[in-house]
């Protein structure tokens, strides 16, 4: 009798479990592959090998991880992100407001350090553009060497990648309108609410972006001259950046000593800058800003916007770092020739908060395709 009851109980439990598991799988299948592209998230440095092993059908990533599959001959670009949104903003230089407002005595103020940082950023960006303009120059070779060291990809990958990124620091009206569009998208998908905007004192996204993007620091850098002494020997600026992101070459160049006669561009302007450990994603870097462990950082504009609003992370956009320069890569022999062919397949992205993810979602949305976690 007891045995029978035990067996019965076990059978009941088994049926419940099997039914639930079956339900889960059935529901997933019934979800309909018709209008859905699946995504999975991972570090960009892993993406080309996952694609080569056919574990994903495509990936979207920043350079040089887009070009690494192109150069290896294992992948081809289905879509460059500038085809989704021409001249789209990408990485920016973000300042932590409490740092900018800090005062360590004398002329060692947050504002002074920020201006000097931006001056070095401008000079580094111009140096990059000059180097890229002449591929036979010494500077070009130096740039490639630096990029190889930073991204851990070989020279041919890096050189291909440079073809797809445009570097620039200025923030014009189209930059602001693109950021406004991103903000609007977040509002439309309920990731950010108008209530949050209002809470921070803004009536609409245009007003918010107008305030978040502050080009007055950039404008004030004209008066900055090189400094013979280091302003902040004991209080280095804590610099945040993303792992191996070629978009952020300006900070790599500005940190480099060997190519500039033993003194980095940051040091030229009297700054002691300490690089933090690379962040895996923009949202992760924004959490570090929130925790007060980053003073100035390079990261994508979308996570900066999202976390400024939802986390109220007290930051300001100081300059641009680059625009464009990400691509959707598929296997070379893949039967995917347009976005629609991706339906039912899985794409790897650097994370739900990244600009690559956002732009692909925009592109798929235009085709009426949902982009969901696979």
């Amino acid at each position: 009798m007891q045995k029978k009851l035990m067996i019965l109980a076990v059978i009941v439990v088994a049926i419940v479990v099997i039914a639930s598991v079956a339900a889960v799988f059935l529901m997933r299948d019934n979800g309909g592959d018709e209008n859905v592209v699946y995504y999975t998230t991972m570090a960009p440095s892993l993406m080309d090998s996952w694609l080569a092993e056919n574990q994903t059908s495509a990936y979207i990533a920043w350079e040089p991880y887009a070009s690494s599959a192109l150069v290896a001959g294992t992948g081809r670009a289905l879509l460059w992100t500038n085809e989704i949104m021409p001249h789209h903003p990408c990485c920016v230089v973000l300042g932590w407001t409490p740092f900018i407002e800090s005062d360590l005595g004398g002329n060692v103020t947050g504002v002074n350090m920020t201006l000097r940082f931006l001056k070095a950023h401008i000079e580094a960006t111009e140096w990059v553009n000059d180097a890229l303009a002449d591929k036979h120059s010494v500077e070009y070779n130096q740039l490639v060497d630096m990029a190889v060291g930073f991204t851990l990809r070989n020279a041919s990958v890096v050189e291909e990648a440079f073809n797809h990124v445009s570097y620039g620091y200025e923030m014009n009206a189209s930059f602001e309108s693109a950021l406004t569009q991103f903000t609007e998208m977040y509002i439309a998908s309920n990731i950010v609410t108008n209530a949050t905007l209002n809470l921070l004192g803004y009536d609409n996204s245009t007003e918010f972006v107008g305030d978040y993007v502050n080009d007055s620091y950039l404008a004030a850098t004209t008066g900055i001259v090189p400094s013979p002494t280091i302003l902040n020997p004991d209080d280095p600026i804590r610099l945040g950046y993303l792992a191996g992101d070629l978009h952020q070459m300006a900070q790599v160049v500005a940190m480099n000593k060997t190519s500039f006669g033993g003194t980095s561009l940051f040091e030229k302007y009297g700054l002691n800058v300490a690089k933090l450990t690379a962040f895996a994603s923009g949202p992760a870097e924004m959490l570090a800003f929130k925790a007060g462990s980053v003073d100035i950082g390079y990261l994508g504009a979308p996570p900066a916007i999202q976390k400024r609003l939802n986390d109220r992370t007290d930051t300001v956009i100081l300059a641009q770092a680059n625009s464009e320069g990400s691509a959707l890569i598929v296997s070379k022999n893949s039967d995917v020739h347009e976005l629609k062919d991706l339906v039912g397949k899985t794409v790897a992205t650097p994370g739900e908060g990244s600009i690559q993810h956002l732009l692909l979602k925009i592109a798929l949305s235009r085709e009426g395709i949902a982009f969901i976690k696979g």
Binding site: Q2, V13, S20, A23, T41, M42, I191, N310, A370
Partner: protein, 285 residues
């Protein structure tokens, strides 16, 4: 003893014992909610940068109900695609139940064997003692990589539930009253009869203790295992991490936490109910 028979006395008893308990229980919940409201209001009013991390109960309640309509970020309103809390629950429950079921089906018989046969115990003990001290969560990265999005987290649940059940069953078998076994033997019971009709039923209370502990551990496991959603599937743990770390939608994070509490209470409650049923039926209590 006459006290309990008089209705007035009984009411008085309820008033002085149970009623007080109920009142205190309500008071403690009210005090908790009030403290929560005060803490979140204080953070907000004082302009603390930590205020976003502690939304008030009202905001969390709104997010909780909104979660069943549509989850921001996972849904795409532009083309009418919705993901809700139900999807997360299904995802997590599928992994949870699968992992727990396998753990139960293996740990119970194995525990019975190890408890009653010295050879099996000598063989099994060292292995168990090697693996038991390793926290199940330590296996998360490896399991997710090897077993994938479904069986990876389910495997962590398995580990979390397996050892509490196994250890309790072994202990249960060893705690069987020797006089019961002797009595059965005197009455001419065969070895298999003693095992099935004396040892196994006597082990059930210990099994249920193991199950209840295992359920608690398993819920901790599933949430943490889903944090690493390298590939495939959603789940409550995935949403916990996404809604907070990536999106900063903290009210939704708390809403998911409440859902986990509800599910955990439900499963443990169900186990408790089964246990009571068994006691009633076997006349143990």
């Amino acid at each position: 003893m006459s006290k309990g028979k008089n209705p007035i006395d009984r009411f008085e008893k309820l008033l002085t014992t149970r009623w007080l308990q109920i009142l205190l229980g309500c008071l403690s919940i009210i005090a908790f909610v009030a403290l929560w409201v005060l803490a979140s209001m204080y953070l907000e009013e004082s302009g603390s940068d930590k205020a976003v991390f502690l939304p008030g109960p009202r905001t969390v309640a709104d997010a909780f109900f909104d979660s069943f309509e549509s989850l921001p970020g996972l849904s795409d309103p532009a083309i009418g695609y919705r993901v809700t809390m139900w999807d997360l629950i299904l995802s997590s429950m599928g992994r949870f139940l699968s992992g727990f079921f396998v753990a139960f089906m293996l740990a119970f018989p194995l525990g019975l064997l190890m408890g009653s046969l010295k050879t099996v115990e000598s063989l099994g003990r060292p292995i168990v003692e090697i693996f038991r001290p390793i926290p199940p969560l330590a296996w998360v990265p490896i399991f997710v990589l090897i077993f994938g999005a479904f069986w990876g987290p389910a495997g962590i649940v398995f580990l979390g539930a397996f050892f509490p059940i196994l250890i309790n069953v072994i202990f249960g078998v060893k705690s069987v009253d020797v006089t019961l076994i002797d009595a059965a033997r005197t009455l001419g019971a065969k070895r298999s009869d003693i095992f099935l009709k004396v040892v196994v039923p006597a082990t059930v209370p210990y099994l249920m203790t193991g199950v209840k502990i295992g359920l608690g551990v398993a819920w901790m496991c599933i949430v943490a295992a889903e944090f690493i959603g390298i590939q495939g599937g959603t789940g409550l743990g995935y949403w916990l991490s996404l809604s907070s770390m990536t999106y900063g939608l903290y009210p939704y994070t708390y809403a998911a936490m409440i859902m986990i509490a509800i599910l955990s209470t439900l499963t443990t409650g169900l186990a408790g109910l089964l246990e009571q049923r068994f006691y009633k039926w076997s006349g143990m209590k």
